[in-house]
């Protein structure tokens, strides 16, 4: 076997059903670790946590791409092979179907006895009459018929193969649509506090995941403002504290200077603007504070987004940075409870309800010194860099709205002035979304058509018998399980009173 021989052999192996089946099972098997181990694409924070908990195992798993299963080279290898195998199987079959549709049904075989369905009976009518009746009966059932000398060939059910091919070709198309979205789409996440806005540009996003072909300068230049955010919580009964509805009232412009429009965004109801969608995924509290420095100047007066520590009742924590404070910069680590309540032993405070029934804050740590914000390294807004800071001893107490805590030695003071809410938003643009939907819908349609129809052939032969009556032979071949249609057809063609046959015909029996 030469090189071409080997290539041909390899191609035949790859495109065989057996290989396709094994690849299909491999894809299923290969997906399993992606559901067991945390994945970077879905929950990067849980991957970090896994690394902390499994110090020796995690790096090995990482080497095998087990935290990026669906982007792993071995996963790609399996599904690409599967799709090549699929294409290698389906494309020639599409060509063959076209040929079949254009050519006539195959002529009647010599012996009908070998067919899965066959029958023989006598008729008093002439062969021509019998064949004409058969032709009409078959046409009525939407068979394609061709008359040969003394026999009739009929075929129908091309939709079975057509549906089958549409299904598989649609899967190929789906893969391309997904690829299209991955190349030309993007996703950005941000937390947006009430009364603030953002523009669709990379600078505003806390996380930004562009496709390979996305130019950050080409993002649609829309602007969105969050005017009001509300959560309706269940306030009594077994489900107390469960959110009933999130409502975010937004105003937006397609581009700077365009007409302003408003929209109410809910979970399951995103804002659509300029081909992108803005989704409401979560929420949190942004308490507002006023910080006065040692010289009596107000150096901070704003809302600060706090991150929930307790997802049920939204006890949250956050930091305040006042880099303009003089003589020394000030920083605070804070807790916020939307509904503050004392713990049973009275020693501390917890949040007993996620809604803001009794909002309180406490200073967990107060710092003065250098916030280290000029080092050039990006700093998290949720953490203080304590390296050059000095902790200031302050009274730890829960403060209600309007209360002020003074720092010792006249270093400044902090006032809890109120709170706002923020919405956790995701902005996505995915040009593959509609093609993917079309491909998926076609796949289901093809599948249904394919599973509901069967390709079948019927042949009828009529000839003059020795006793002067006409011998009628009927044969049927169905791809897949034989249908009852053959029996119905036979009942129609057969004379009213069937005479006893010397040898039993085998109609309706299945030979697999």
């Amino acid at each position: 076997m030469g090189l071409t021989g080997w290539l041909r052999w390899g191609w035949r192996q790859l495109t065989s059903m057996r290989t396709a089946l094994i690849l299909l099972f491999l894809v299923a098997l290969a997906s399993v670790p992606g559901s067991i181990f945390p994945q970077r694409g879905q929950s990067p924070e849980r991957v970090v946590q896994y690394f902390e908990e499994h110090e020796t195992l995690a790096p090995w798993l990482d080497r095998l791409s087990l935290f990026d299963v669906f982007a792993a080279p071995w996963f790609a290898a399996i599904y690409l092979l599967l799709f090549v195998s699929l294409a290698g199987c389906v494309l020639p079959r599409s060509w063959q179907l076209l040929q079949n549709v254009r050519s006539r049904p195959p002529a009647a075989p010599k012996r009908f006895g070998r067919l899965p369905q066959s029958a023989e009976f006598r008729s008093d009518e002439t062969p021509e009459q019998v064949l004409e009746q058969a032709r009409q009966a078959l046409r009525k059932r939407r068979f394609r018929t061709v008359a040969d000398d003394g026999s009739l060939a009929a075929e129908k059910g091309y939709l079975h193969e057509a549906g089958n091919l549409v299904f598989h070709l649609s899967l190929l198309a789906l893969l391309f649509a997904v690829g299209l979205g991955a190349m030309f789409g993007y996703r950005g996440n941000l937390l947006l506090t009430e009364d603030t806005g953002f523009s669709n540009s990379v600078a505003y996003y806390g996380e930004y995941h562009p496709g390979h072909m996305v130019d950050p300068d080409d993002l649609a230049p829309f602007q969105v403002t969050l005017d009001d955010f509300e959560v309706d919580f269940v306030s009594s009964g077994e489900q107390v504290g469960q959110a009933r509805e999130f409502t975010a009232r937004m105003t937006y412009r397609e581009r700077p200077g365009a007409a302003e429009r408003s929209e109410t965004v809910r979970v399951n109801h995103p804002l659509e603007v300029s081909g992108a969608k803005v989704y409401l995924l979560g929420h949190g509290y942004a308490p507002t504070f006023k910080v006065t420095d040692g010289r009596g100047n107000v150096v901070f007066d704003d809302a600060v987004q706090f991150l929930p520590m307790d997802s049920a009742n939204l006890a949250s924590e956050g930091v305040i940075k006042a880099p303009d404070a003089e003589p020394q910069q000030l920083g605070f680590q804070m807790m916020f409870w939307p509904t503050a309540a004392p713990t049973p032993d009275g020693s501390s405070v917890f949040s007993s309800f996620p809604g803001p029934l009794n909002p309180m804050v406490a200073v967990v740590g107060a710092f003065k010194g250098d916030l280290n914000m000029d080092s050039g390294d990006p700093q998290s807004v949720y953490e203080l860099d304590a390296e050059k800071l000095e902790m200031v001893k302050v009274e730890r107490r829960a403060m209600g709205v309007g209360e002020t805590l003074k720092l010792p030695d006249g270093a400044g003071e902090i006032t809890f002035t109120g709170f706002k809410e923020y919405a956790s938003l995701t902005v996505t643009h995915d040009p593959g979304r509609v093609p993917a939907l079309v491909a998926a819908s076609l796949a289901v349609a093809g599948l249904v058509v394919s599973l509901m129809t069967r390709r079948r052939r019927v042949w009828v032969r009529a000839s003059a018998g020795e006793d002067g009556r006409t011998v009628v032979e009927v044969g049927g071949l169905t791809l897949g399980t034989p249908t009852v249609e053959f029996d119905d057809l036979l009942r129609e063609l057969r004379p009213e009173e069937p005479e006893p046959e010397p040898e039993p015909a085998s109609a309706g029996t299945i030979k697999e």
Partner: protein, 313 residues
């Protein structure tokens, strides 16, 4: 918010349904046990040979007019009453909370059992598959029992993420297909047992079931019918995910496992038409597929962390 009277009614109706299903199961078992076996087998062959036009190629399950004490008919009547009670339980549960009655794992499993019994009733009428009754009833009683004991949740409101008309479409399709897969799974198990039995040519209880070809065919039919429904359910879920989470596919554990189930059952449908795979191997594939389906329905919510976790247990 919650109409407790309706909720209690739902619980009582479901309890009644389980009891009726147990009675029906015994009825089907009696039907299988007390039907004279060899006569039946012979009669069927004679019918097949003497009147080739009668009887379609599809069923061949049992002769229509075989003499029998009517345990079977009794069981069917009880099943229908049980199913009506079951359906009443599902509907009243939905009415008690003014929403679709499949918002948590308990309601979901109860609805799947309803779909499984419906699937069995359809196969019984269309394919004379009454012999499946005892086994489907067993599966359904186990399912309803497990749901009531381990998964029960008091009726309540849904989290905002589930408040969408897609819950009717996506979860509804998942329920129908899971019910159908359940019936197909029962037939597959019977096929595996029967094929083994035939191979060893032993006498026994399994003689009372139709031939392995018929069972295999029935399992295939059930699976073939619901496979597109399952596919549709995945796609509807993807559309909903696009509305709710901003992406239509994100390899969330539930998505991953629904894909795995899809791939395995697709493998089964292909295997059945492939030389060297049809028969027992294909049946094993279908069995693995059902195991993956069960894991996806319940296991994913218990063992794996993901976005579908609000459908809590």
């Amino acid at each position: 918010m919650v109409d407790t009277e309706l909720a209690d009614l739902s619980n009582n109706m479901l309890l009644g349904a389980v009891l009726l299903y147990v009675v029906a199961m015994l009825g089907y078992a009696a039907d299988l046990a007390f039907t004279p076996r060899p006569a039946k087998a012979r009669a069927k062959e004679l019918v097949g040979a003497g009147a080739p036009v009668e009887g379609s190629a599809d069923d061949g399950a049992e002769p229509a007019a075989a003499p029998r004490r009517d345990w079977g008919r009794f069981a069917v009547v009880i099943t229908v009453f049980g199913w009506l009670l079951h359906a009443g339980g599902v509907v009243s549960r939905g009415l008690s909370v003014s929403r679709w009655p499949w918002g948590n794992m308990y309601e979901f499993v109860v609805a799947i059992c309803l779909a499984a019994v419906a699937g069995f009733l359809v196969l019984m009428i269309r394919n004379k598959a009454r012999y499946l009754g005892a086994f489907v009833m067993l599966a359904v009683v186990l399912g309803l029992g497990a749901a009531t004991i381990w998964l029960y949740q008091a009726p309540g409101e849904l989290v905002p993420a589930l408040k969408s008309y897609w819950i009717a479409i996506h979860v509804g399709a998942a329920i129908v297909s899971s019910g159908g897969f359940t019936v197909g799974f029962v037939a597959t198990l019977l096929y595996l047992a029967k094929a083994r039995h035939e191979e060893k040519a032993k006498e026994g209880f399994l003689d009372r079931l139709p031939g392995s070809t018929v069972l295999d065919d029935l399992a295939y039919k059930a699976t073939m019918f619901v496979f597109p429904v399952w596919t549709f359910s995945i796609i509807a879920g993807a559309i909903w995910a696009d509305e709710a989470w901003g992406r239509y596919w994100g390899w969330d554990p539930k998505e991953t496992w629904s894909f795995i189930v899809f791939a395995i059952y697709a493998g089964y449908l292909h295997a059945r038409a492939t030389a060297g795979w049809k028969g027992r191997k294909a049946a094993v594939v279908a069995t693995v597929g059902y195991a993956a389906l069960l894991f996806n329905l319940v296991g994913v919510n218990i063992f794996l962390e993901g976005l579908h976790s609000y459908a809590d247990v």
